[in-house]
C-alpha cells in the first residue's frame, strides 16, 4: 500500500521534469568515463550496456508478443561466433562482421520460428531451450570450426580509419548501440507492428479476425529480437576479444529472462532497470556467486507471484501514462475480473 501511494507521486514528478532528467542522464552517461576514471567500472558499464540490449530485445518476444523464448543466449552466441570467426579466419572488420552477426542470428531465429510458432506458445519455449543446448554442444564439439572448448581468442577490437578502439571508445559504441536499440524498441511499441503484437498477445483469435497475420507477425517479432541479440553478441566478441561456449549457456538465457521479468515485461524501461540490477548485483555481492542460480530462481518466482508487472510495472516512467493495467503474466495466472469475457 505504501509503495502504491508513493509511486504515482514519483512517476508524475519524473514525467513533469522528464526533459531535464533526460538531458541530465545523457550528460552523465557521456561524461561517465571521465567521472569514474577506472577501467574496471568502465568494463562493468559496458557489460550493463550489453545486458540492456539483450533484455530489451527479449522483451519484444516476451513482453510485446506474449511468446516465451528460453534460448536467447544461443542467438547472442551465434552472433558472437559469427563475428569472431569472420574476424579471426577471414580478417573481416567489425563493421562488416557486426551486421553479418545480426543477419545470421536472425536467420536462425526465422528458422526456429517457422518450425514452432504455428504451435502453442509452450512449444517455442521447449524448442528454444533445446536449441540453446544444441548450439552449445555444436560449439563445443565442432573443433575444426569453432576450436571447441578452447574458444576463440585474439579477436581484434573494432577499428576506425586505422585507429583501434580504446576502452572508452567501446563504452561510447555500446552507449550508442543501447540508445539505438531502446529507440527502435520504443518505435516498434508505438507503431502498427507494436499494436499488432500486443493484440496477438492479448487475444490471438480476435487479432486474427482483425486481419492480422498472426503467424507472420510472430515470426517477424522473433526474428527482430534474435537479430538484435546477434548484434549484441558481435559487440561482445570484439569487446571481450575472446569467446567461448561458456558465455552462451542456458544459464545466460535465464539471466536475461530474469532481467526482463524483474524489470517489467512489456514496458520499455523495465528491461533496462532489470538488466542494470542483475548485471550490477554480482559485482556488489560477489561472495554469493555460488548461489547465483538459486537467487535468479527466487527472484523470478517472487516477481511473478508478488509483482507480476515487475519493478517498473507494465508501463514505465518515460511512457505515456495510461489507466490501470495488469501484466500479461497476471492475466494468465489470475482469473480475469474485467476485460472481455472469455
Amino acid at each position: 500500500m505504501k509503495l502504491k501511494s508513493i509511486r504515482p507521486a514519483f512517476v508524475s514528478f519524473v514525467l513533469r521534469y522528464r526533459v531535464p532528467f533526460a538531458i541530465l542522464l545523457g550528460v552523465l552517461l557521456v561524461a561517465y568515463p571521465w567521472i569514474v576514471r577506472n577501467p574496471y567500472l568502465l568494463r562493468v558499464a559496458t557489460n550493463v550496456g550489453i545486458a540492456i540490449i539483450l533484455a530489451s530485445s527479449l522483451n519484444i518476444i516476451i513482453g510485446f508478443s506474449g511468446l516465451f523464448s528460453l534460448g536467447h543466449a544461443a542467438f547472442y552466441g551465434i552472433g558472437a561466433y559469427t563475428s569472431a570467426l569472420l574476424a579471426t579466419r577471414l580478417g573481416v572488420p567489425f563493421w562488416l562482421g557486426f551486421p553479418a552477426a545480426g543477419i545470421v542470428a536472425g536467420l536462425f531465429g526465422t528458422f526456429i520460428g517457422f518450425a514452432t510458432l504455428r504451435l502453442r506458445a509452450v512449444f517455442l519455449a521447449f524448442t528454444t531451450l533445446g536449441f540453446g543446448e544444441i548450439t552449445r554442444i555444436v560449439i563445443l564439439n565442432w573443433r575444426d570450426f569453432t576450436r571447441g572448448p578452447l574458444g576463440i581468442a585474439g579477436i581484434p577490437v573494432p577499428r576506425l580509419f586505422g585507429w583501434s578502439f580504446t576502452r572508452e571508445a567501446n563504452y561510447y559504441l555500446i552507449l550508442l548501440l543501447c540508445a539505438a536499440v531502446i529507440l527502435f524498441v520504443y518505435r516498434i511499441y508505438h507503431s502498427r507492428l507494436g499494436r499488432a503484437l500486443i493484440a496477438i498477445r492479448e487475444d490471438e483469435t480476435a487479432a486474427r479476425s482483425m486481419g492480422i497475420n498472426v503467424f507472420g507477425y510472430k515470426i517477424l517479432a522473433f526474428t527482430i529480437a534474435c537479430t538484435i541479440a546477434g548484434l549484441a553478441g558481435s559487440f561482445f566478441a570484439h569487446f571481450q576479444r575472446y569467446v567461448s561456449a561458456d558465455s552462451f549457456v542456458a544459464d545466460e538465457s535465464f539471466r536475461i529472462i530474469t532481467m526482463v521479468a524483474l524489470g517489467g515485461t512489456g514496458s520499455i524501461t523495465g528491461p533496462i532497470v532489470g538488466a542494470m540490477i542483475l548485471e550490477l548485483f554480482p559485482e556488489v555481492f560477489g561472495f554469493l556467486a555460488g548461489y547465483r542460480q538459486v537467487i535468479y530462481g527466487a527472484v523470478l518466482i517472487t516477481v511473478i507471484v508478488l509483482k507480476p508487472g515487475g519493478i517498473v510495472g507494465v508501463k514505465g516512467v518515460f511512457e505515456k501514462p495510461r489507466a490501470t493495467r495488469r501484466s500479461w503474466i497476471a492475466q494468465a495466472l489470475l482469473p480475469r475480473f474485467n476485460g472481455g469475457t472469455r
Binding site: 493484440a199 487475444d203 482483425m210 495510461r322 469475457t341
Partner: protein
C-alpha cells in the same frame, strides 16, 4: 446480387457433427438473422465462414469467389468482418488503439483516419473514451467497441455473434439500434442471436437453426407469425 452464399456446409469437431449441411445466403445490403438455441451451431457457422474452424465439406462463396478454409486474415481483407461472441476487445489497448488494430488490413493512413472519424460519429460514447483502455469499459461500451472495431476494416459484410450476450435489456435495445444504423450505411449483416424476438424484429430474413440444420427459413415477419417458432423461441403459446 448474392454477396455471401453458404452451401451444404458440414463441420465436425472430432466425432461430433456440429453442422450437418447448412445452406444460406445473404444479398447486398440485406439484414439476415440466424436464430436457434444453445448448441445449434450458430457460432460454429460464423467461425467457419471467417476461417476459424475448418469445414469437412460444402462451400462458402463471397462475391462468387470460394473462401472456405482460407486464412482468417485474408478473409477479412476481402471484406468480411466478424464481431466475435463475448466481444473480445483488447483489454490493454485503448479504445482508439483497439479501433486502429481493427483497421489493420488497411494500409492507407488517410483511409484509417476517415474510418476512425466515421466510427466516432457513429458511437459518440467511444469518442469520449478514446484514451481509455478497452478492459475498463462497461459491457455495453465494449460491445460498441467490438462492432466499431469490426467496421474499421471497412467490410461489406458484418457477422455479429450474439451482441446481446450479458447485457441489460435497455442496453441490448441500444446496441440493436446501432446495428440497424450500420445496416442503413449499406453494410450487409448476418446476425446470430438467441434473443429471437428482437432479432426477427430488426432483420428482414431469418433462418432457424436446430442441432446443425436449418429447420425453417423465411422473411422475418413470417417467422414472427409462425406457430412453431413462436412456441419454441418466442415463448408464446
Amino acid at each position: 446480387m448474392r454477396l455471401l452464399e453458404v452451401q451444404d456446409l458440414v463441420v465436425y469437431y472430432g466425432h461430433i457433427n456440429a453442422l450437418k449441411g447448412i445452406s444460406l445466403s445473404l444479398s447486398e445490403g440485406h439484414f439476415v438473422t440466424l436464430i436457434g438455441a444453445n448448441g445449434a451451431g450458430k457460432t460454429t457457422l460464423l467461425n467457419t465462414i471467417t476461417g476459424g474452424v475448418q469445414a469437412t465439406s460444402g462451400s462458402v462463396l463471397f462475391r462468387e469467389e470460394p473462401i472456405l478454409n482460407e486464412r482468417s486474415d485474408l478473409i477479412v481483407r476481402k471484406g468480411i468482418a466478424h464481431v466475435p461472441e463475448g466481444r473480445k476487445v483488447f483489454p490493454e489497448l485503448t479504445v482508439e488503439e483497439n479501433l486502429r488494430v481493427g483497421a489493420y488490413s488497411i494500409p492507407q493512413k488517410k483511409k484509417v483516419a476517415e474510418l476512425l472519424a466515421l466510427n466516432f460519429d457513429l458511437f459518440p460514447r467511444l469518442a469520449e473514451r478514446r484514451r481509455q483502455e478497452g478492459g475498463t469499459l462497461s459491457g455495453g461500451e465494449q460491445q460498441m467497441l467490438a462492432i466499431a472495431r469490426a467496421l474499421m476494416s471497412d467490410p461489406e459484410v458484418l457477422l455479429l455473434d450474439e451482441p446481446s450476450l450479458g447485457l441489460a435489456p435497455l442496453l441490448v435495445e441500444k446496441i440493436f439500434e446501432f446495428i440497424v444504423q450500420v445496416n442503413k450505411l449499406g453494410k450487409s449483416i448476418l446476425l446470430v442471436e438467441q434473443n429471437a424476438n428482437l432479432a426477427l424484429h430488426v432483420a428482414s430474413y431469418g433462418y432457424v437453426l436446430e442441432t446443425g440444420r436449418v429447420v425453417k427459413e423465411g422473411p422475418a415477419a413470417d417467422l414472427l407469425r409462425d406457430d412453431a417458432v413462436r412456441k419454441a423461441y418466442l415463448g408464446i403459446a
